[in-house]
């Protein structure tokens, strides 16, 4: 029992040696800076910044790679607050709710105060989520260590179903995106027999489609094309000057319960597959509006609105890493990219990672902690300088990002073929945007597809190909059965709701017309 406790404690301490070296610390600091600069530019999302920068991490060790990507991710989530407050345009979708109160505050000369509240709220939200990740991660991993094929299959199905369900407004198109991702994931060598399939006799596809090329194309170059298509390259902004950021230090104390509550909401929303910082901030803002003592002030420049949104969207980051690290199953596009980056580094996230490489897991927790500290310091000190990023001409910025996409994709394997794949998926991403098909399910499905297939075929193999026995195995698992029921309910509920509302609508129409005829 004592040795178990010692082992548990070591997961919080072993990583310091890996992280506390000048190179890693500088990389984390630099990545937060880069993330903030990128996030501050409307249209360049956190997902995009992580996707485009992933290739740069391949020459780093896993600790530094995770630190850099986490720093960029957190930095861009915070960076998006700046244009949301200064020019009423969220830098990332997660900052949409910040515009509602941040911009009115800016218009009455309180831009610095709003930004300061945003930074501090983001910091506290991030720290809380790292603490939850540190406590719940090992616990979830120890439970997941006993998972077999039925459990892994059902969790993967749930993760994919939820993201297909919540992405965009059309569930059918979300499912279609996921199916296309699953199909892309089957390209290459069959995992069981080693036979090539769907590779069209192309030797470069024997190992499958390069995941980073897909991600850079769909979230990187495609977004650039989307921004140009929407004329964002023609926009010119003249943001207000940023002053008195530090005045927020005294403003946050009265908002402590708003920040605490929103941080918890954000962390829990982040844990839910498919939900991410955007949904976290919306739920948090909506909740705050419900329970606020002055709800009429929200949406008109209330500091609690900024606090609720920013603490939740940063807190979601730690929550979404929980399932990725503990189960090896990503819950959203960014964690799918992070998982892909770790796999390329030779690190397989999942329950076994906590046993085999506790110092790496520990270093991930610590990197996140330090990234949040860096975010606080740089955010408070550098807010007025980051505001100037909004003046960078997009006519130069967008081609620069396009070069990063091409060069970064090439850098992964030194393969021009991958660049071609990236261009194809950039086109796919652009077409998806025009057709209102969400992109996140495709990316997740490429990662989850092999997990689904391996475990499905294992179950079928163990039951000698008998589908009935396989279904029985799933139904008798105390973990898999409820998860699959939730998945079925997820798809059935909207259909049942529609049918019920149609029936009630028809009934009440009939009753009304009967009542009218009776009166006559």
């Amino acid at each position: 029992m004592i040795s178990n406790s010692v082992q548990m404690a070591s997961i919080y301490t072993d990583g310091w040696a890996l992280v506390l070296n000048p190179t890693t610390l500088l990389l984390i600091l630099g990545s937060v800076l880069v993330g903030m600069a990128v996030g501050a530019i409307p249209g360049l999302t956190a997902t995009m910044s992580v996707a485009v920068l992933v290739p740069l991490t391949f020459t780093m060790d896993p600790t530094s790679a995770v630190g850099v990507l986490a720093g960029v991710w957190l930095g861009s989530l915070y960076g998006g607050t700046l244009p949301a407050i200064l020019i009423n345009m969220p830098g990332t979708p997660a900052d949409l709710m910040t515009t509602l109160d941040g911009y009115p505050m800016s218009r009455r000369g309180e831009a610095g105060r709003a930004i300061g509240i945003g930074v501090l709220s983001s910091f506290f939200g991030g720290i809380l989520s790292v603490i939850v990740l540190g406590i719940a991660g090992p616990a979830l991993a120890s439970v997941a260590r006993n998972f077999g094929s039925p459990e892994l299959f059902s969790v993967a199905v749930l993760g994919l179903s939820v993201i297909a369900f919540v992405s965009g407004k059309s569930m059918a198109k979300g499912v279609a995106s996921a199916l296309i991702g699953l199909l892309v994931g089957t390209i290459g060598r069959d995992l069981f027999t080693g036979q090539p399939r769907l590779n069209f006799d192309e030797a470069q596809l024997i190992g499958g489609v390069e995941f980073i090329a897909i991600v850079v194309g769909i979230f990187g170059l495609s977004e650039v094309l989307e921004q140009v298509y929407k004329r964002q390259h023609l926009l010119k902004h003249r943001p207000q000057k940023v002053r008195n950021v530090f005045s927020a230090l005294k403003d946050v104390w009265p908002l402590k319960w708003v920040v605490a509550r929103s941080s918890v909401i954000g962390t829990l929303a982040g844990v839910a597959p498919g939900a991410g910082p955007t949904i976290a901030s919306i739920i948090s803002y909506g909740t705050q509006k419900q329970i606020s003592k002055n709800p009429e002030k929200m949406g008109k420049g209330a500091p609690e609105g900024v606090a609720a949104s920013d603490s939740a969207n940063n807190a979601a980051s730690g929550g979404s890493l929980l399932t990725m690290l503990s189960l090896g199953i990503p819950g959203d596009a960014v964690t799918a990219i992070l998982l892909g980056a770790l796999v390329v580094q030779g690190v397989q996230p999942g329950p076994l990672l906590f046993e085999s490489e506790p110092e790496l897991v520990s270093s991930i927790f610590i990197s996140l902690l330090l990234a949040n500290v860096a975010l606080l310091v740089i955010g408070l000190l550098g807010a007025r300088y980051f505001a100037k990023v909004l003046n960078v001409p997009r006519t130069i910025l967008y081609p620069t990002v396009a070069v990063a996409c091409v060069a970064g994709t090439y850098a992964v394997r030194g393969s021009a073929f991958d660049v071609g794949v990236m261009l194809i998926f950039a086109l796919v991403g652009f077409v998806f945007a025009r057709a209102d098909i969400p992109k996140a399910p495709l990316v997740l499905a490429v990662i989850l597809g092999p997990i689904l297939e391996i475990n499905l075929r294992r179950m079928l193999q163990l039951s000698d190909g008998d589908v009935g026995t396989t279904l029985g195995t799933l139904a008798s698992s105390p973990v898999a059965a409820p998860i699959l029921l939730v998945t079925i309910a997820l798809f059935a509920a909207p259909i049942i709701r529609k049918l019920v509302s149609k029936r009630f609508g028809h009934s009440s129409k009939t009753e009304t017309s009967d009542a009218v005829s009776e009166r006559k």
């Binding site: 407004k169 919306i282 081609p399 396009a402 091409v406 060069a407 996140a440 689904l452």
Partner: protein, 178 residues
Amino acid sequence: MTLLRYRNFAVGAALVLAGGATLLATSSFAWGRAPAVDPALFPRIIALLLITVGIVIVVLGATQARRGTELPSEGGEGVPVDIEIPAELLADREPEGTDAKSGILLAVLVTVYAIGAFQLGFATSTFLFLIVGSLVLGHRRGLRGLVSVGIVAVAITVAYYVGFFVLLGVREPTTLLL
């Protein structure tokens, strides 16, 4: 027929075609093999689901269009929660519109750049792409604009070259020029 209905028909048809193409591509694998040794099992399941979902999208699209309940376009990654943004905040936002011509030009330029980077030379292609790309997107075309974009293009090209091929040690492609 509205544009939206055409779009849903196109999406549905494309999915059905993708499913059919997958079934065709896996036709060389024998049917009825044991699941563990059947490489075509999973792709075929996906293909059948794609065809099903494609038909569902076409039918749903047609039904919604007939009832006039089509959903407005929202760019695909829209948050599935309706948010009411106050009118006075909306008024402050820039007016929207599209610029398909610039988008297509940039896409073509990026493709030409990608080919040039691995045939002609990375640094040369990057420099030219940054200048031409900026001008296509509307950067100032006077002497001052050209000089400024030229200087920035040189700086960015050098930064990328040093960053990737020197600092990160990426293998430089064999090309005619630098």
